[in-house]
């Protein structure tokens, strides 16, 4: 078996005197899809931001194929190129066209030729059904289209791992599907991913492993079937209950 893509050991993250992540240990293997779920404020976004070195960490270590990921490391930009991140709010660059958004980092950071980057960008755009939007500007796209462009932008850097932070949370219901389908497609291609989501159906379909995070610790982890069918902890049961609806009828 090959080395893990990502190794997190005893990660501690504090904001002031609030400890948001307490001793997180997690290993992600090549091609694995990890879904992280948990109540609001439990530290899911913070975990992804630490993995991408957008936050300084106070303890433990994060390694990407053996290389240390740290906000203070000197080759920070080099490491970040190898990690793709997609945010809830897309964060396309408003002053650049769709195509320029996608090829900015490949050409400026990876110094690839414009032609080659363009070719790949267009091929990726076709795959997500947005080939004809290449010359549009972000403001001319719907939320779901923007999010698909953001995913393509991350993909075009050939990252070794992709991080998704509630990428459908800001979308209208009818656009959620088109974005989730793209992510499912990536899972089928064997991409290594960590996905934070509140879409439980999707989580179950896409995950190889589910992590239940609460109050900054991994309370439970397991296969999707096991986690959703028979969660081990009370807290996970309670959490999953918030996604089901029942009517309490007094009579039949």
């Amino acid at each position: 078996m090959s080395d893990p893509v990502l190794e997190i050991k005893h990660l501690v993250k504090r904001f002031g005197d609030q400890t948001v992540l307490k001793d997180i240990t997690l290993t992600v293997e090549e091609g694995e899809v990890i879904v992280v779920v948990g109540p609001s404020g439990c530290g899911k976004s913070t975990l992804l931001r630490c993995i991408n070195a957008l936050e300084e960490i106070q303890g433990g270590e994060i390694r990407l194929k053996g290389a240390e990921v740290s906000k203070t490391s000197s080759n920070l930009a080099k490491i970040r190129q190898r990690i793709g991140m997609v945010f809830q709010s897309y964060e396309l660059f408003p002053h650049l066209s769709v195509l320029d958004n996608i090829i900015l980092a490949p050409t400026k950071v990876q110094k690839r030729s414009k032609e080659e980057a363009k070719e790949e960008a267009l091929a990726l755009l076709s795959r997500v059904g947005l080939r004809e939007k290449a010359d549009s500007f972000p403001r001319q796209l719907s939320g779901g289209q923007k999010q698909r462009v953001a995913i393509v932008r991350a993909l075009c850097m050939h990252p070794e791992i992709l991080l998704f932070d509630e990428v459908t949370a800001a979308l209208d219901p009818e656009m959620v599907r088109e974005v989730l389908d793209v992510i499912l497609g990536l899972a089928d291609q064997g991409k290594t991913m960590i996905i934070v989501t509140h879409e439980m159906q999707f989580a179950r379909a896409v995950a190889d492993r589910v992590i239940f995070l609460e109050e900054g610790v991994i309370k439970e982890e397991g296969s999707p079937d096991q986690f959703f069918e028979e969660p081990k902890t009370e807290r996970a049961k309670e959490f999953l209950k918030t996604f089901t609806f029942e009517r309490k009828r007094s009579r039949v």
Binding site: N52, L54, L76, A77, K78, R80, Q81, R82, I83, G84, M85, F87, S89, E91, F93, P94, H95, L104, A105, K108, V109, Q110, P138, R139, R153, A154, M157
Partner: protein, 219 residues
């Protein structure tokens, strides 16, 4: 209104206007450079130099141009630096304008959301590339109204140049009034020439702003 007088001295005003525009342009270009350097120093948090730029911005913004000009014009020779009035005019305008431009650019940079930068960082762009390709283009269009207002402000400020005996528009008007007492005509010409300089700038300014609004970044 004495039209003969006006026709006679029109060329003199034209010459003065050219001088005003030349010094104004040079001073404004320099202030843009100074402004850019100041915001870059503050963006990259370069120690010591950063404190110096902050001090410069405070001094420059809180003293009148006239006094800045006197310092340059009468002060520099005292410490052995020989210069001429035109160079002093450019330097004075740049000293004043640099801080105004810095503030305009800074407010533009501040308006770009942190998560835009994080988005760039997460693609592997370094701080410089993020500034150059992501932050600055957005900041520039945000600060465009303030930038255009600064240009007009600085062009108007050139009217104090006469104090260091630069033969600009103001100097010419004062001179003619002193010599011939043709106050109305002299001032009329002064106003007309300032308008001739400022109105086109103002027009370009509103065109640029309208373009930016239509090509706006709104999501």
């Amino acid at each position: 209104m004495n039209w003969d007088f006006i026709m006679k001295y029109l060329p003199l005003y034209r010459k003065a206007a050219v001088l005003t525009v030349k010094i104004g342009t040079a001073g404004i270009l320099l202030s843009v450079v100074i402004g850019l350097v100041c915001v870059a120093v503050q963006y990259f948090k370069i120690p010591v130099i950063r404190e110096i730029t902050t001090a410069y911005i405070e001094i420059s913004r809180n003293t009148p141009l006239l006094i800045q000009l006197f310092f340059i014009y009468y002060g520099l020779p005292k410490i052995g630096i020989r210069t001429n009035a035109a160079a002093c005019g450019v330097a004075g305008l740049a000293f004043l304008g640099g801080s105004y431009m810095a503030e305009a650019f800074r407010s533009g940079i501040d308006a770009v959301e942190t998560i835009q930068m994080e988005s760039a960082y997460s693609l592997g762009l370094n701080r410089w590339q993020t500034l150059r390709y992501v932050v600055f283009p957005q900041a520039l269009s945000i600060s465009m109204p303030a930038f255009m207002a600064n240009i007009i402000f600085l062009l108007k400020e050139t009217s104090v140049f006469s104090a260091i005996s630069l033969m600009d528009l103001m100097f010419t008007a004062k001179d003619l009034i002193g010599l011939y007492y043709q106050t109305t005509e002299s001032l009329f010409l002064l106003v007309v020439f300032y308008l001739l300089i400022l109105l086109p700038v103002s027009l370009v300014g509103s065109l640029v702003e309208r373009r930016l609004r239509y090509a706006g970044f709104g999501t």
